[in-house]
Structure formats: C-alpha cells, structure tokens
C-alpha cells in the first residue's frame, strides 16, 4: 500500500511539475493564434523529454554521478565550459521568467501591482531553497501544481465543438493570416518549452540528492513515462481553452490575465481561484527547479560540494551562486521588462541550446565505463539519434525565423 502511494505520488508530482510559465504562455499564445494545429509539437516534445530524462536518470542512478559532472570528465573542459555558459545563461532567463510568472499570478489574485510582488516571490523562493528538504519541496509544489487540471475541466465545461478541435489537431494547416514563418517559429518555441533543458539537469541531480540506486530506476521510469505525457496533455488543454474562447474572438494572448479568461468563463470565480493556485504552484516549483539547476550546473562543473541534503554551510559556493542568480533575475525584472516577453524569448533560446545539452547525455549514456551493463540499448539509441536530428534542425532554424518573423509578431 505504501509502495503504491509512493508510486502515485511520484507520478502526480511529475504531472504537476511538468507545466511551467513557458508552457503556460506558449501554449496559450499558440492556442489563441493557431488553434490546435500545433498540438503535434507538444507530442513530439513530450516523447523527447521522456527519452532524455530517462537517460539522465539512468546515468545518475547507475554511476552515482550527476550529468554535468560527467560532461566535463568525458568531453573535456572546453566543451564543458561552452555547455555551462549556454545552459547557465538560459537558466538565468528562465529563472527571471518564472519569478515574473509568480508575481503576475499574485497580481491576478490580488489586483496589487506586479512589481510589488517580485521581492515577495524572490524571498519565498530563496527561503524554500535555503531551508526546505528536497522531497517535501518536490511533493508540495507538484501536488499543488495539479490544480492546473482546471484547464481540462474548463475545456469540458465550455462544451466546444470537438470536431473542429480534432480537425485542427489531426489535420494541421497554416492559416492565411499567420503564414508559415510564424507557424514554424512557434513550433520551435513550443518544442523548447516542452523539452526544457533545466529539467534534465534537475532530474539527474535530484536522483543523486535522493540517492537513487539501480532498483529505483523502475519507479523513476514510471514517474517519467506516465507523468510527463499527462503533463503534456495539460499543455494541450491550455491551448484548447485558448482556441475555443480566444481564437474566435480575435484575442491573441499577450498577458497572463488573458490566459485566465477562458477558465473564468467556464467555471466562474471558483475555477479562477483554482487556476491561480495552480499557476502560483507551477511557476514556484519551476523557479525552485531552475534556480537549483543553475546551482547544480556550476557546482558540478567546478567540483564544489553541492546538494540540498547538505546543510548550507557545507555547500557555501553552491548556495552563494543561487543567491546571485536569484538577485540577478530580480534585477532584470526590476527594469520593468515584461516577464511574458522574457518567457517567450527564454523558450526559443532553450530550443537553440538544446543540442548542447542533449548530445552529452546521449554520449554518456552509451559509455560503459560509467554505465556498466546499463548502456543504452539499440532502440533507445536510434530514438536518441532521431531526436538529435530534430533538435539540431530546430536549433538552426530558430534564429533565422526569429529575424524573419520579428520574433513571432
């Protein structure tokens, strides 16, 4: 019974933890402008992240080392440093976006100006990283993030024309108004939002934090294989709600307040309250994960002592770097930049950096010195290579499309 509860908890946490501000905003924007004609990208992204999260978890469980430690050892300091620089900058953008997301959701709840919430969000995120145990942190934010199921509920309450939605999803076409350039730009953005690099570093470092062994792999695999797809389903629900309410009205999403409108229409103030709870939990959880991810990548590259299982005094450089990251994110937000804009750029830049983050994992997962008999089997390798091609294509096309379409305007 206890075992079953543990399994359920893991899966639920994965679902609730899948959606972050990037998924929320990108799916809402895409739904309001393209309907469900980009839903297939979410499917591709979810399969990809399942594949790579699985691999990185296996590397951590079998070798006892987290991904970034192994990247430097196997690929040398130059490649490791390039990887670190790219990942760190993108992590920083993502942390900024997530903290902005927390503040925006709190503004939606209270009407109090968003900038006033930023220091509150910052302090809250830091306090949890400073004092709260890893497992508790994961479970609470994951379970509360499940509130985002309200999007699926809202979709049913809206009584949409399922035929129209299905035809958009299964027979995708580029509308006259938007054009192929913008379509593919948002496909890349959606892909980057689904295959967030920080997730992989967090997952593998988390595996070391929780001291996974080979016998925990089965559990981890189930969490990933069941949790992430259900999280992807939530993403599509977000897009569908926007497609049903906002697209016909000609409203294209640019703010979080617009994302809430379909849910309010479907389920009134109660649904709205659940939504806000879900958004705060999801973005808070994601802010924790990305901040920890920045700490993990730096500490693992430079060989510092790291981990939430250690008291902060025993991992001083680790905690110091996270404090600096949080302060930098807040400083960027204090300049008044729109966090939704930061979010939209962060997902595209995540897509651009994907090859740098996934290629090393594929290489290490095939290395018998670290993996022993648990190296990738043929099927996983073929899938991994296919995805590498997709990732490279997305990465190379991102910047030209950004220039041509004016960042999706």
């Amino acid at each position: 019974m206890k075992r079953l509860l543990g399994v359920a908890l893991g899966i639920l946490t994965a679902i609730g933890g899948f959606v972050d501000i990037g998924d929320l905003v990108t799916n809402a924007v895409v739904g309001s402008r393209f309907g469900l004609s980009l839903a297939w990208v979410v499917v591709v992204g979810v399969v990809g992240i399942c594949l790579f999260a699985n691999m990185s978890g296996r590397v951590a469980a079998v070798s006892g080392r987290a991904t970034f430690e192994v990247i430097r050892e196997r690929m040398g300091p130059r490649a490791g440093l390039a990887n670190l620089a790219a990942s760190f900058l993108i992590n920083l953008m993502t942390v900024t976006a997530e903290i902005g997301g927390i503040a925006l959701a709190l503004q939606l709840a209270s009407g109090v100006a968003y900038l006033l919430w930023v220091p509150v969000a910052l302090l809250a995120v830091w306090l949890v990283i400073w004092r709260v145990k890893f497992k508790i942190m994961e479970n609470v934010t994951g379970l509360l993030g499940l509130s985002l199921i309200v999007f699926a509920v809202a979709l049913f309450l809206l009584k949409p024309d399922w035929g129209v939605l299905a035809s958009q999803a299964f027979a995708p076409s580029v509308s006259q108004e938007e054009g192929p350039g913008v379509y593919w730009y948002f496909a890349i953005a959606l892909f980057g939002a689904a295959m967030t690099p920080y997730e992989v570093f967090f997952f593998s470092s988390g595996a070391v934090e929780e001291r996974w062994k080979v016998k925990d792999l089965m559990q981890a695999r189930m969490n990933v294989l069941l949790g992430f797809p259900l999280g992807g389903f939530l993403s599509v629900a977000i897009a569908a709600c926007a497609a049903v309410v906002l697209l016909p009205a000609g409203i294209s999403v640019t703010t979080l307040s617009q994302v809430a409108l379909p849910v309010a229409q479907a389920g009134g103030q109660l649904a709205l309250a659940v939504l806000i709870l879900g958004v705060v939990a999801a973005t808070f959880g994601a802010a924790l994960e990305t901040t920890l991810s920045s700490g993990y990548t730096l500490a693992q590259f430079f060989g510092w002592s790291w981990g939430k299982f250690r008291r902060p005094a025993q991992a001083a450089r680790f905690h110091m770097s996270m404090i600096v990251v949080l302060l930098a994110g807040a400083a960027v937000l204090a300049t008044g930049v729109d966090p939704i804009l930061v979010t939209e750029y962060s997902v595209v830049f995540s897509a651009i950096a994907l090859p740098l983050t996934y290629l090393p994992i594929l290489i290490v997962a095939n290395d018998p010195q670290y993996m022993g008999e648990h190296v990738n089997n043929r099927a996983v390798n073929i899938a991994g290579l296919v995805y590498l091609v997709i990732i490279l294509a997305a990465s190379l096309a991102a910047i030209p499309l950004m220039i041509v379409t004016g960042a999706g305007a």
């Binding site: 009205a249 409203i251 703010t255 307040s257 809430a260 309010a264």
Partner: protein, 161 residues
Amino acid sequence: MSQYGRRLATILLALAVLAGALTACSQRPSPEALKGPAKDVFSAVQAATLAVDLRIKNSTTAAAGSTAADDMLGEVESATDEVEGFTAPTEEEKSLRDDMLTSFATISRAMLHARDALTAPSGGPEQGQPGSGAHGLPEVLGELRNATDQLKALMTKAGIQ
C-alpha cells in the same frame, strides 16, 4: 588616396547614405503597416469586453478583471505610440492615420471606464464614485462594443483584415 582606400571610402559613404535614408524614413501608414497595431488594439478591446462581460455575470473577480483591463489599456497605449510615430505626407495617409488614432483614443477612454468599473466591488460602487451610474458595468460594456464596431468599420475601410 590609394585605389583600395578610395573603394573603401565609396562603400562606407554608400552605407552611410543608406543608413541615413532608412532612419529618416519612418513608417508610412499603409494598410500593411497599420495591420499590426490595429490587430493588437482589436485583440485588446475584445479581451477587455470579455472581462467586463464575465464580471457582469460574476464569473470573474474584481482583481482579475481590473488586471486584465489594465494590461489591455497598456496594449492600446503602445499601439497608439506606434501609429503616432508614422509619417503621413499625403492627405489620404494623414486622414487614415488620424482616423485610426481617433478610434484608438475612443477605445482607450472606454477601457479606462472599464478598469474603474471593474475595480469596484461586486455590489456596485456608491453613487458618484468612479465606475458608478453612467459608467457602470453594463454601460461600459456598451461603450466598448461601440468602440469595437467603429474600429472594425475603419479596418474594413482601410483594407485591413
């Protein structure tokens, strides 16, 4: 000057002239250029209308509604700034740009009323407070709908769709 130096100087001069020409020409209010701001404003006013509508049905909170109205007001403001920056040498272009700006101004006014009305508690504000009486929620809804129709007519006339 050497031959190489002369060629370099010519290229640099050409680039400078080109840069000067490009920066001197700001946007002309053609239907193409106006499409972006017009659509943004249309989207914003539709969103504000939806927010007011939901508030009337008590489906959304004052906080969420007023946040939406505030955000949408910001959108209209930045679209207005963009169109104001267009240069309009011909009479026709000038009248199109001014019509567009008038429409945006009407929408901005309606949205200000909407924000005030939405900030009020659901029992309705007291008489004389902003958001009451002639600026109550149903009236604001009508105002927004009129402004939207005005904008739509203007967009059709200008050939934006």
